[in-house]
């Protein structure tokens, strides 16, 4: 198994119910498979993904959906930024 951390920002915190969760997923799990699992486990996530563009970063960087998660990865879920004014 691979241990990862899911970091939720902005309205994704409300969807997940907290600002982060620790997860164990099988070796070889891709980012796409993880997102599908989260959308299954957290019913509000699919609805949010219909309303906004979901940004997913792995350790602060954009990765392809084929990216295979490794031990210690931090996967951040967030909406498009709203900084500035």
């Amino acid at each position: 198994m691979v241990r990862i951390k899911i970091k939720a920002l902005s309205l994704l915190k409300d969807v997940i119910g907290k600002d982060h969760i620790d997860l164990e997923v099988p070796f070889g799990t891709t980012l796409k498979e993880l997102i599908n699992k989260l959308a299954h486990d957290y019913k509000g996530l699919a609805g949010i993904m219909e309303k906004i563009e979901l940004i997913v970063l792995v350790n602060g960087e954009k990765r392809s959906l084929d990216y295979k998660l490794v031990d210690g990865d931090e996967v951040a879920l967030m909406p498009p930024a709203s900084g500035g004014l």
Partner: protein, 156 residues
Amino acid sequence: MVIEAKIIEDKIDVNKIVKELMEESSSLGGGALVSFIGFVKGKVNEHIVKELVYEAYMPYALNKLKEIVYEEARRTGIISIKVYHRIGRIEPGEPTIYIFVTAISRRIAFDTASRVLERVKHEVPIFKLERRDDGEYWVVGDGKRIKRVRDKGKVM
């Protein structure tokens, strides 16, 4: 060249920074300073805003902010760039972001300040929650607002 990018909680002394930048830039050929300050609106969609709550995804937000400033500072004619983005609870009329650019010409300074602002707004993972007299709204991207329903643990 003077470059600085910070994510901060408190306000800064604008006059002090402007004075220092003009003094430092003039000897390097600078003759134009553009400053931009974004502040919290007190009214949105006819509703009273109580405060904004800014959160940054650290350390990546700071890394991206620095990357933008360093990239823009490499452009011809730029003498200095300083950007400070505030986080935490900020009330209407209070500053949220400061951008200072000095350059060899006003056109370069204006253009660069504008470009830095747009890049910060779109590229730096900073998010805001708007607390108003009719509830709380997550502000997403370029001003889209999604109402928060905290007690039910979901969003509308």
